[in-house]
Symmetry: C3
Subunit: 407 residues, 3 copies
């Protein structure tokens, strides 16, 4: 497949911010570019120039290129051209857009992960506004939302997006593919300051260990030092059986998610709204995650139109012990974020713990106690985070500790 | 007990197709036979002759035999006589009836096991019509349905039935006893083309491994090559704890069943119709079985008269992920079989998977996909079985793939 | 802290049977005792004398002691004085009250543990009548019910109570503290004929093994031979994950309890009356305990005023397989005890098993059977206990076996 014609990217009435590149390398005739674009009058010249520069970068002197543009940004054009050239010539040279300086922020193992917004990895139209919805994390998805023939080009697009798109402080996540394809995905995305990798259909500790080790190799090669966190997704009965083993495989695992569509398919049962068929598995995931000291994360709620159903789902999820959910539409973000946010009771309890900790520290005591109960250090850390988040969300004033606590 | 009188078999107003043999070996006087039978006028002579032949086979020249016949077939008469002679003389020589040629069919690890009909192993009256009810399997039971003093004679009767009774294609199963008695049971039944052994009160991987190894020894001795499948029955808290370990002990295990009467007794709680007390255990069995890639099988429904209750039970069982149930009465077979059979939705999905697989194969692709999802090979196998079964059940026409799928 | 003033014990309007000791060791001036007590006219002299004797035992010649007495018995006065002297002087010499001869009774691994009454370890007022409420066990609690600064004095008080208070046949239990403090607790209480140690927040087999080994060391040192049983309390997700491993760590473990206040806090969820959030954990504890052959024990019911709620809780607990519950108030004892006691059906079944066992033994049979079922030896033992208890509770006459069983 290193010769012939490549068609890369998407076009059509519903496509935005993308460009479909049809590339044919010819023997002679120079570079011929045919551009179709609504913004041709304004950006036509710039697009053509970028394409010529890229072809020159790859040493291609004769080619016919048809471009169907729906308002693609330069990093998208670059990704599509690179994928097209690689497909036709087999040239694996990478053409990296500039890493935005604001994209170099770090994450934190214990940060809240209430909401994480799934973005289909080959649909650039959804990338640009994702961060504005203020989810705790964005997931650039290379797995289920990308059709099989589009897997290679999506990988390049996602790599570029991680460098050129500002996600406004959201945790930067990528869901890789299952199997060996997933290992290749890692080679592309790990060097781009990815914070967290979602590992689909994780079934064994061995599976997640191999991924963790591969990431460490890539980090060593690129001299990267920041941790890359892992969120295994449990999507099968075998994954449920091994959930606790999986959860404690490596300290890089910070959360354990369940994927109910695949899980119920594995069980061979329909997924119902009541969810009796998956209650056992969800409970077991919560306990496995909490036992390993990590966050249990619930499955996505599929019916984007049913906001009341979503809220009920969030409420029962939180009551079971889950600490977050995936979002498949931006409108789900605020409901999920607010639903998992600390309640007034939780904030009040956190205040008492933090005050007790401060008093104990001031008094030089080795242990913190609240009433007759000793407070473990992780409980203090968690309380401090709850306080911080409550302040961030405007649920608590900055000088709360100077006010009197109620009760 | 190698001298004296033996009373073998059953008699009484409710007994059918059996013969009660009372044998006394004497010092002199030759063979004296006293026969009581409704069919004496027609078959009296034949029965007497068979008994004389058998006594001669064992070299017994003086004996008094009282026969209380309720229409026993020759294989039953033979089994009862052998058991009586063994009881009195200790002679362990086997007297095997002819193996029917149609009884040599094979089973298949992945065949459906929706319904399996329990047949008390010492009650020949229920054997003859069992196959006509068309259950997926028949279980000749040596355990709970056989009283302690009848264990030895049941073993001989079941051995003979496996050779002489036609079960019309049902999977040929035997439930052995617990402990060392179960190992002895295997010596009798394994050489008779048994497809599957049900192992009651299985509690540890070690337990099922020992049984599997004993079966392999018997197979080697008799130069048998067909696999003998295993279905451990989980009937205790310890079994539930070890269910996953048990399920993956040997590839011969094809299903994992739960027995709720014994399980609730082990827990020390009454078994209720709602079944809250066993919901956790049932869920755990389903997940353990699916995680090991085998079939989870639900407990029997005890109230033979309540067909609506049975249907509800089947529906909720299937919704949980179970793939079959035991039947304690032939009338339960059709309800269970239909309840676990593929639904129209399931058939539709299977059609799509099979079509996708055929198209992928024709196109020379290494992977099969449906939409954006890759289809694993076992899912294809399962879909093919669903299609096959749907055709068998008349739910799908033979030329379905030439018709257009809906949607 | 080996100089200065010590204030030990409790005083106040609600305090009964206690004495608050304020001790200051001085350089000269002899022993000065200031006693405040309602019973001063009757017992003032005796109290003063006891205090002088104790000071003399510790070689203290100059001290000012203020006593605020609310009717303390000698073993309480002794405990408070010892704690005060130790606090001021650091002298660790033990001053043991006489062990009551009636306190030397033994327990039994398989005894019923329906109800166990929690007694805050530093509140002597509740000790004296505890046994009169006839709970299966009394728990002298050194953990959650004792405030941090009172931990040391509580340990001495509990040690004395185990010697000087008659609990009228209740199993003698102590709940120790978590961590290294718990090991120190053991040094004080193990030599006092303690029957059972409750181990709070047990999370790993290693944890309970270390405690078991420490107890064996103390027993060896004091040449004690009676077993000290263990009841680990599962109070976290990690404990739930490891419950089965924990339950089978040592044969001294006779029961496994769940503590729902701490468990739900660990999960980060509120504890509701319906308890959906802990149903999975409770089921798992029941199965783990039964699989290990020990007693599953449910959490306490916190609302002391709601007797109907308590009864519902007991009923559903028993239906799940639990065999007991903690009591935080004496009035809960009879409801819990009766709720978990054998029902008429259970007694009837136990009678049949015991009769079958007797008949089998008389007939010289190796196995016991009831109908077609073999009866395992632990089932016989349990049945015998049920019979014994039913007789004790007046539910069965002493000569029941001579009467005809119904059915």
């Amino acid at each position: 497949m290193t010769q012939g014609v490549a068609v890369i990217g998407n076009s059509g009435p519903k496509v935005r911010s993308d460009i479909e590149v049809t590339l044919k390398v010819t023997r002679s005739g120079g570079i011929v570019i045919i551009l179709k674009s609504k913004v041709k009058s304004m950006y036509g010249k710039t697009i053509e120039e970028q394409c010529r520069d890229i072809l020159s970068f790859y040493g291609i002197k004769n080619a016919t290129i048809t471009l169907d543009d729906s308002g693609a940004l330069p990093y998208v054009i670059s990704a599509r051209m690179e994928a097209a050239i690689r497909s036709v010539t087999g040239d694996k040279k990478e053409l990296l857009p500039m890493m935005l300086p604001q994209n170099l922020y770090k994450s934190d193992a214990h940060r809240f992960r209430f909401s994480r917004l799934y973005l289909p990895g080959n649909s650039p139209g959804m990338f640009i506004n994702a961060g504005l919805h203020n989810p705790d994390g964005v997931i650039l998805d290379l797995e289920d939302s990308v059709a099989l023939p589009k897997k290679d080009e999506a990988r390049i697009l996602v790599r570029n997006a991680l460098r050129a798109v500002d996600f406004y402080g959201a945790e930067r996540m990528v869901r890789i593919n299952q199997g060996s394809r997933g290992f290749d995905d890692l080679d592309y995305v790990i060097p781009q300051n990815v914070h967290l990798i979602l590992v689909p259909k994780c079934e064994t500790a061995k599976n997640i260990k191999a991924i963790d080790e591969h990431i460490e190799k890539i980090k060593a090669k690129h001299q990267l030092t920041s941790p890359v966190y892992l969120m295994p997704i449990i999507e099968s009965a075998l994954g449920v059986e091994n959930a606790f083993e999986i959860a404690k495989t490596t300290p890089n695992i910070v959360a354990l998610a369940i994927g109910l569509e695949d899980y119920t398919a594995d069980l061979g049962v329909p997924r119902t709204r009541e969810g009796h068929e998956s209650l056992y598995a969800r409970n077991r995931i919560v306990v496995a995650a909490k036992a390993a000291g990590i966050q249990p994360i619930d499955s996505v709620f599929s019916d984007v139109g049913d906001m009341e159903g979503l809220l009920n789902n969030v409420t029962s999820s939180k009551a079971m012990g889950f600490e977050g959910m995936g979002c498949i539409h931006p409108r789900q973000v605020p409901v999920i974020k607010q639903g998992f946010a600390p309640s007034p009771d939780e904030i009040e309890k956190a205040k008492k713990i933090v005050i007790a900790f401060r008093e104990a520290t001031e008094a030089g005591l080795g242990v913190v106690s609240l009433g007759t109960k000793m407070i473990d250090p992780p409980v203090v850390t968690r309380a401090e985070k709850t306080i911080l988040l409550a302040m961030k969300l405007g649920l608590l004033s900055e000088d709360w500790s100077e006010e009197k606590t109620t009760e």
